[in-house]
């Protein structure tokens, strides 16, 4: 019986606390259009979405610095870089076609094998590297990085006891659910930009400060009309890709993880005397 996975990037209590707090801020940054009260300070300013973009950039930087501090050695860095490169190379393949996002299976499988900390860093860095390579740095990038990071993190949290065929089923189901949720959250982050300032309120647009149920109804309508056509094919595609590739890719990643020997720290021991005698 082989090991399920290793933690290539170790999470200390400190980085775990930072992760939890950043998750809270991230959730607010995504869901603020639903939570904002009518008479609060940000309800009627068009700057509110941009404020959360800036906050999310800072939070991502802080959390990645916390994770890297003492938890990332050269092997983890190299593995992160190489897997992020594969993701960044895969990503343009799906551009244009509706719902074809070929990077998701990489986050899911790598997070599963290399641990939640690694999955978090991989999700964020893949999207960052891909944006730098394609010169696509924009206000959507922090949201994408954040959501993808949590997808990788979640893959590392799946129960370790599930093995064999069931493992593939669990991973495929997780991949589909995660990509649906990712689509929902990204849509939510874009939604406030449809706010109608001077014009009449569109029945799909975000109305700042409207009651929660009202805005949820509007958002559901917006999501159904604009992006569900992308999200459902993407979820199916991800699940299919995970099912097809899980066996060989998991095997390869586990072999690489074992060869990298993340869990056994390098030690410097004095050279034994026998060696020097035999060399005489």
């Amino acid at each position: 019986m082989t090991v399920v996975g290793v933690s290539a990037v170790r999470l200390h209590p400190r980085s775990a606390a930072a992760l939890a707090l950043s998750g809270a801020v991230g959730l607010l940054a995504f869901c603020w259009p639903l939570l904002v009260r009518h008479d609060s300070a940000v309800a009627h300013s068009t700057d509110a979405p941009w404020l959360f973009v800036l906050l999310l950039i800072l939070i991502l930087g802080v959390v990645l610095a916390e994770i890297a501090e003492g938890g990332m050695d050269a092997k983890a860095i190299a593995l992160l870089g190489v897997l992020a490169a594969i993701g960044a190379a895969l990503r343009p393949l799906g551009a244009g076609a509706a719902g074809l996002e070929p990077v998701w299976f990489l986050f899911v499988l790598s997070g599963r094998v290399l641990g939640r900390g690694f999955g978090f860093a991989l999700g964020a860095l893949t999207l960052f590297a891909s944006a730098l390579l394609t010169a696509g740095v924009g206000p959507w990038l922090p949201f994408q990085m954040f959501a993808a990071a949590w997808v990788g993190f979640g893959a590392g949290c799946l129960p370790g006891r599930v093995r064999g065929r069931w493992e593939v089923v669990v991973l495929a189901a997780y991949g589909a659910a995660a990509s649906l949720l990712y689509g929902l959250l990204l849509d939510l982050s874009f939604w406030p930009f449809t706010v109608s300032g001077t014009g009449a309120p569109s029945t799909l647009a975000f109305v700042p400060g409207a009651p929660l149920a009202d805005n949820v109804g509007r958002f559901v309508a917006f999501h159904l009309t604009t992006s569900l056509g992308f999200d459902v094919p993407r979820a199916v595609f991800t699940a299919l890709l995970v099912t097809l590739t899980a066996r060989p890719v998991l095997l390869t990643l586990r072999r690489a993880a074992r060869r990298a020997a993340f869990d056994s720290p390098a030690e410097f021991a004095p050279v034994e005397r026998q060696l020097s005698i035999s060399l005489d």
Binding site: G61, A74, G199, A200, A256
Partner: protein
């Protein structure tokens, strides 16, 4: 002014572009918005580099056109029409009770199309400004400016960016090898036969990279005194807590006012201090670092100037032309002067080296 050709600090271009985007966010006047897009485009034409990323402006421009189209179509199909000149009337669909206020079809007026078009244009022009930043600031240089606390992560991104083109080269090599052996390159089996060797090779390569990084001292961090580490942790966590509590306070009007923007500002300050303290653990020097010299500061000042101009005169009718009743947008003098100031960097900044014009 003819300074020696050199690359400007990427941060300067980003701040300039953010200033321009801030100005765009303050107006829905289509004349001003188109002028802002023109300023961004002129700067890209004057100061872009030879790298492939310099095509970003055109890509973002197309994306902006898509945004305008989406806004107009959504407003036409689902929006309540503003009173005015009816362009055409679509058949209306009745919806069930659980979707209150949702309306599909109905009359489309010139006024609502104009309102949606103005707002779409504003977003599109802001995208243009960001595209200009992407085209002007080279990503590799941007990556060199990450703070020391993000050193490991920065190295990983550098590895990724160097390695991504190699992955594509490896794919074509594996395909060629399979073709020579008479194996299929198409179909499910073909894809798998290509993908697995590429993945295996990449992971193999990563261990080699790690070994060579280890032997050269990459990915190592210098020891910090325990007290500094504790201070970093305390500042970072308190900062995150402040941001979390503050952003909740911003949304909920029931909380005391101190929990809103002041808490966010304090949290941002503490988190930044944590990053700065954490940067001390990597005691590294940079080879020919980008510096903040007078041209950089001038470029940033120009960006800030236009943002300040638009914020100062924001909210006036000149910046927010009326759509109902529909009126021709004017050309406010002060805002146009601010736009000319934003154009100054094309003379003030040093030209890009290695380009024949």
């Amino acid at each position: 002014m003819h300074p020696v050709p050199r690359h400007l600090h990427p941060g300067a271009w980003w701040l300039w572009a953010v200033g321009l985007a801030t100005a765009a966010s303050r107006t829905t006047n289509p004349v001003l918005l188109l002028l802002i897009a023109a300023v961004a485009g002129y700067m890209v034409a004057a100061r872009r580099t030879n790298s492939p990323s310099s095509r970003a402006y055109v890509v973002f421009l197309r994306l902006g056109l898509v945004v305008i189209a989406i806004r107009v179509v959504l407003a036409g199909l689902f929006g309540a029409a503003l009173p005015g000149h009816t362009l055409l009337t679509l058949p209306q669909v009745a919806l069930p009770d659980w979707a209150p206020g949702v309306r599909i079809g109905g009359p489309i007026t010139l006024e609502s199309v104009a309102a949606a078009g103005y707002q779409g244009l504003r977003l599109a022009v802001m995208l243009c400004c960001i595209g200009a930043a992407n085209a002007l600031a080279s990503p590799a240089r941007l990556l060199r400016c990450v703070p020391g606390a993000l050193y490991e992560v920065g190295v990983a991104v550098v590895v990724a960016m160097t390695f991504a083109p190699q992955v594509i080269a490896t794919v074509s090599r594996v395909r060629a090898a399979r073709r020579l052996r008479g194996r299929p390159n198409r179909g499910l089996r073909g894809i798998r036969g290509v993908a697995m060797p590429v993945l295996e090779g990449a992971l193999e390569r990563s261990l080699e990279v790690a070994a060579s990084m280890d032997s050269r001292g990459y990915g190592r961090s210098g020891g910090l005194p325990q007290s500094t580490r504790w201070l970093t942790a305390a500042a970072t966590l308190a900062g995150l807590l402040g941001v979390a509590a503050g952003s909740y306070g911003l949304l909920d009007s029931g909380t005391p006012g101190l929990l809103g923007l002041p808490a966010v500002a304090l949290g941002v300050l503490l988190a930044t201090a944590g990053l700065a303290l954490g940067s001390r653990r990597t005691a590294r020097t940079r080879y020919r670092p980008d510096r903040w010299l007078p041209p950089e500061l001038l470029v940033v000042a120009c960006g800030m100037a236009i943002a300040a101009t638009f914020i100062a005169i924001g909210g006036t009718a000149a910046l927010q032309p009326s759509v109902s009743p529909l009126q021709a947008p004017g050309l406010p003098l002060l805002a146009s002067a601010g736009l000319l100031a934003a154009l100054l960097p094309s003379w003030l900044s040093p030209s890009v080296p290695g380009l024949q014009r």
